[in-house]
Each structure stands twice: as C-alpha cells, then as structure tokens.
C-alpha cells in the first residue's frame, strides 16, 4: 500500500508549508491594512475550530452543539493566565480578582497548552455523562453545557470579571504563529484520522453495535474523540483570545458552534482540505456580509440595518448545502500531490506510458 512518491510528496508538503508561512510573514510585516491580516488570522483560527469539530462530527458521528463552550474555556484560560497582574487589578471592576488568579502570569505558549488541557478536561466532564445518552440527547446536553459555561463567566465576577469581560490581553498570537499552530493542529488531527484510531471511529459511526461486537470499546472511543476535539477547540479559543485582545461572555454565543458546523458541512465531512477551504470562505463571507447588517439606502427609501442578518444568510446556506450538495465541497476527498501531478501528466502524455519518475526515495 505504500506510496512510491512518499519521499517526494513529504518534501513538497514541507516546501509548501515553508512558502505559505514565508508569505504570511511578508504579509505581516508589510504595510498592508491590518484589517486584512486580521481576516487571515481569523481564517487560521476557524481552520482549528472546523478541524476539531470534524473529528467529532465527521468521524465519530457525534453532533455536539457545545463547541462554543469549549472554545470559551480555552479563550478564558489564555486570557486569565497571560493578563498582567496590574491590569487585572484595574480591570476587575465588579469584584477584586480572586487570589487564585490575581498574581498569576505565565507566557503565552504554556498558557495555550493549558487552554487545551482545560478544555479537554471540561470536554471529559460533559462527555462522560452525556455520551451515555444516545443521538439527539448529546446535542441537547452539549448545547446546555455551552450555555452553562457562558453563564459561569457572567456570574463569577471574581474569576472572569462577569459580563465586562477581559481586556488588554497580550496579543502574542500574530498571523504567523496562528497559522503555524493551525497547521500543526491539522497535521496531528489528520494523522489521527488516517490511523487505526480514525478507522475505528468511522466504524463506530457506521455501526456501533457492529464495532462493539468486534471488541471495540465504543464508549471509550467516543469519549476520547470528544476530549481530543475539545483540546483542539481550546487551543483555537486560546489563539482567538490572544488575537482579539478583548473577550466577554457574548463572544462565545452559539454562533461560534454554528460556524464550526457550517465549516465542516460546507467543506466536506471528512476532508481536511475542505475544512481549510471552507473556513476561508466562511471567514471572508462573514466579513463581507457585514454589508447586509448596515443600513441600505435605495433611492429615497432607507432600510435600517438588521443586526444578525449574516447569521440568517449562513442558515440559508447551510440548508442549501444539506439539500443540494450533501457532500459539501470535497466530501471525503483530500488534496494530494499525486493528484496534482496526474493533472499535468494527463495533458502531455498517454497514461499508459506513465512511469514513476520520482524513483529517488
């Protein structure tokens, strides 16, 4: 089963990653409008949200509506752990910061790892009872969980500064760091999905009882995939907190969960390439669709802007995809170098003469 061009493909992948990162680096240091850089950075973060959700939804087949809650845990972890103690002292207006967190400050990267770990822990906490229930109940429980998390932030002002949220979070995650981490997350998740682990998840997705009768501990796999997905959601959330610099409980409404679902459904249930493309589409759309929320003047008529109209459009889009393009953009197809080369070969040579030129392994 081994691909003969493996060495070449790995090399090309590494080159491609270096080129992308290099390009992003140039972007970041150019005089280009910060707004566009922000959009690119959002893209990278949405890739993580989508990819982490895909493991759960596309592979294990679990519909969790609590992704926003897990992202929120990651965001608040990074925010609280990286905020300077002096800033905390000023910005916690409702209550003085709890002694637990008042004097804590750690660098960004350890904070980001902890964000993942905390989210994974909360994932475990929800998944263990929730996964004893089947089907729709999981969706309900996780939806409730996300809301509970949000309310915890509002109602524990000594820890989370309530609905005021947290400000002046050090913006350590620049464009390049965001994308490097996104690429790493994609890599790890894809490796998991293409290993025996992913295969077993797919088997569970197709027939739980069948999988169990083959000796697969269905519950353990479900919980572990939920926890892994939560970990990456937390990492994404941590990056988001660091990018935004300001978060409050309203940042983590269910719109964020919907974003993850839309990205996976649009891109293709099991295609990482699809997720990367669709999160780009989603990010760009959600920026440019702001038009529909601003007041529109048509001749002498003036329509007031409808806040939230974007969500409406995404809703319709999701409906359209489910009805007319069930597999999304790519379904379970993945970009591969072999495919790319086959495009060129077909053009100038007969396929029968094709021999493997990449013999240098």
């Amino acid at each position: 089963m081994e691909n003969k061009n493996k060495a070449r493909n790995n090399f090309l992948t590494i080159v491609a990653v270096i080129i992308v990162i290099g390009a992003l680096y140039l972007f970041q240091n150019s005089s280009i409008d910060r707004y566009y850089i922000r959009i690119l950075q959002y893209w990278g973060i949405y890739v993580i949200f989508g990819a982490s959700f895909q493991l759960l939804y596309g592979y294990t087949g679990l519909l969790s509506l609590g992704h926003a809650g897990l992202i929120a845990v990651g965001s608040y972890t990074v925010a609280i752990l990286t905020l300077e103690p002096s800033v905390k002292a000023i910005s916690y207006l409702l209550r003085p910061p709890s002694p637990l967190i008042a004097n804590v400050q750690i660098p960004f990267f350890p904070a980001l790892i902890l964000a993942g770990i905390f989210s994974a822990f909360f994932g475990l906490l929800v998944a263990t009872p929730a996964l004893r229930l089947g089907g729709d109940y999981l969706a309900m429980v996780t939806l409730g969980f996300a809301e509970v998390i949000r309310l915890l932030f509002v109602n524990l002002p000594a820890l989370f500064n309530g609905s005021m949220g947290l400000r002046s979070i050090p913006q350590s995650a620049n464009l390049v760091i965001t994308w490097l981490i996104a690429i790493l997350c994609v890599f790890v998740l894809k490796r998991l999905e293409t290993s025996n682990y992913g295969r077993n998840l797919l088997a569970i997705n197709e027939d739980e009882i069948g999988a169990e009768a083959l000796g697969i501990s269905v519950f353990k796999y479900k919980v572990s995939s939920f926890v892994i997905s939560s970990f990456f959601a937390g990492i994404g959330g941590g990056l988001m907190a660091s990018m935004l610099g300001t978060i409050d409980p309203n940042t983590f409404k269910s719109t964020l969960t919907n974003a993850a679902i839309t990205i996976v459904v649009l891109g293709g249930m099991r295609s990482m390439t699809g997720v990367i493309i669709s999160s780009g589409i989603y990010t760009i759309m959600s920026e440019y669709l702001r038009v529909v929320e601003s007041p529109i003047v048509l001749g002498s008529f003036k329509f007031p802007g409808i806040p939230g109209a974007r969500v409406l459009i995404f809703g319709f889009m999701l409906l359209f995809i489910i009805l007319f393009m069930r597999n999304g953009i790519l379904g379970d197809k993945e970009f591969s170098w072999d495919w790319l080369f086959s495009l060129f070969k077909r053009r100038d040579r007969k396929p029968s003469i094709v021999e493997t030129k990449g013999g240098e392994q």
Partner: protein
C-alpha cells in the same frame, strides 16, 4: 473442559420468559447448531452469551472464566466473537478496512504512536495488513479487497462478515443465521465456507440457522429450543426423528391419536 458452558441461562422481559434454563456445554473444535421456530429465543441466548443482555438468572463460562454480565467488547477480548443476523458490516468502508477494524484488539500502539507514526505504529499497521490479507486469501475473498463492503453481492457480504469476525482471532464464533436470505448456490457456498473455517482454523462454532439443510449438513450436534425451553438435543438423525421437534415446527395434529 468445555470451551463454552452456559448454565441455567434464563431471560425474562417483564412477565415474558424468553429463555428458560438454557444449558449447553460446547467442547473445543465442535460445531453445534441451535435451532427452533421463530421467537423460540435463539437470538436471546446469543445476546446473553455475548454480553448484549444480562441474563436474569444463570451463568456463562467461557474458557474457564465467568463472563456473565461482561461487556460485549470485553468478551471479544476473551476470544468469543459474534456475527449478527441482520448484517452489521461497515458498508461505506472497503473490505480491507472492515478486516482491519476487526484486528483492532491486536493493535498495540498508543495514540501518540499513531500521531508520530513511530516504528511501533508502522509495525502494527503492517502486521495488521498482512494478517488481514492473509485471511482474505485463505477465505477466497482477496479479489474484493478494495471494494466497498456495501456494494458487494449479498452472499459475499455475509462471508465477509464472518471473515471480519475471524480477524479478531477468536477461539469461538457465534454465527446468527449466516445463510439467511441466500439462494441455494450461495448457501452451499456458505456451508463450504463454515466447514473450511472448522478445518483450517480449528475453530469452535455455535450456529443459529433456519435452513435445516445447512444445519443438518454442518452440525454433528444440534440443540432445539421452543418457547425458551430446550426440547431436544442430539445428532441430526436423532433430531430428524424427534417427535417434539416435529411438533414444535409443524404444530400438534389433533386428529391423530397416538
């Protein structure tokens, strides 16, 4: 010592007694048939043995250990694998992937191994492929290796399901109506297939089957249950001549005086 020993297995659903005092001792290498009319409780026996139901009463011993109430996946770990009646293939996965999932219990690599693709992972994956291919070759399914399981002919699907169960490397197989829905030619094929399993892998089999032709030609020993009770046990000839079995299948004829 018998490989599978079911002692007084009883299953009640509310007031309904589905299976009452089922006893069976199956020796290593045996093929035993379990027959009975519809609703006799055959599948319930399987469900109790495999851990899908917890018996109301009685105990199951496998390989000398008490497995009553253990989880299905743990029972597979012990070496007892079940094949379902209504087909539980992973239909969208291809044949080799189905086999590989069956091999999971022999896969000794952690998640970290699979992320880093360490030598441990690669060896495991390679071994899993080799063993699966080997098994497919032995069972004459190698030609379908990359086909999607759900698109195979029905007879091949049934065979694949048994082959997949074999890839867990069980000591004993529980086959629930492997020849259901097969035409004569296919079910002959299945008979050959099952005898081949016994001869090549020396595996113990407990088999539920409706088709008398299949049961009579494979099983040297047959247990008959009706309304949850064991009504007969013996070799095919004895079963064929047993009056109780005759009545269970065809009903009691009131006009005939004994």
């Amino acid at each position: 010592m018998s490989l599978l020993d079911a002692k007084d297995l009883t299953m009640r659903f509310g007031g309904l007694v589905s299976v009452a005092n089922f006893n069976a001792a199956i020796e290593p290498g045996e093929i035993v048939g379990l027959i009975g009319p519809n609703g006799a409780g055959k599948s319930t026996v399987f469900n109790m043995v495999c851990g899908f139901y917890k018996p109301t009463q009685g105990r199951v011993f496998f390989d000398g250990k008490d497995i009553t109430g253990m989880k299905p996946n743990n029972i597979v770990e012990m070496g007892l694998t079940r094949v379902f009646q209504n087909g539980r293939l992973f239909k969208k996965m291809n044949v080799i992937e189905n086999m590989l999932v069956g091999r999971q219990r022999h896969f000794k690599a952690s998640l970290l191994d699979s992320i880093l693709r360490t030598p441990t992972y690669q060896q495991n994956e390679k071994l899993a492929y080799e063993k699966s291919i080997n098994l497919l070759e032995k069972l004459d399914l190698i030609n379908y290796i990359h086909e999607e399981a759900g698109k195979l002919p029905f007879g091949i699907q049934r065979k694949l399901e048994v082959a997949r169960a074999m890839s867990t490397k069980p000591k004993m197989l529980l086959l629930d109506e492997p020849a259901t829905g097969l035409n004569v030619e296919e079910s002959n094929d299945m008979i050959h297939f099952i005898t081949q399993l016994r001869d090549e892998f020396n595996i113990t089999i407990l088999l539920i089957e409706h088709s008398m032709r299949v049961v009579m030609s494979i099983c040297p020993r047959i247990i008959v249950i009706d309304h949850g009770e064991t009504i007969a046990e013996g070799n095919p000839d004895e079963i064929r001549e047993n009056q109780k079995v005759f009545e269970a299948y065809l009903g009691v004829d009131d006009n005939v005086e004994n």
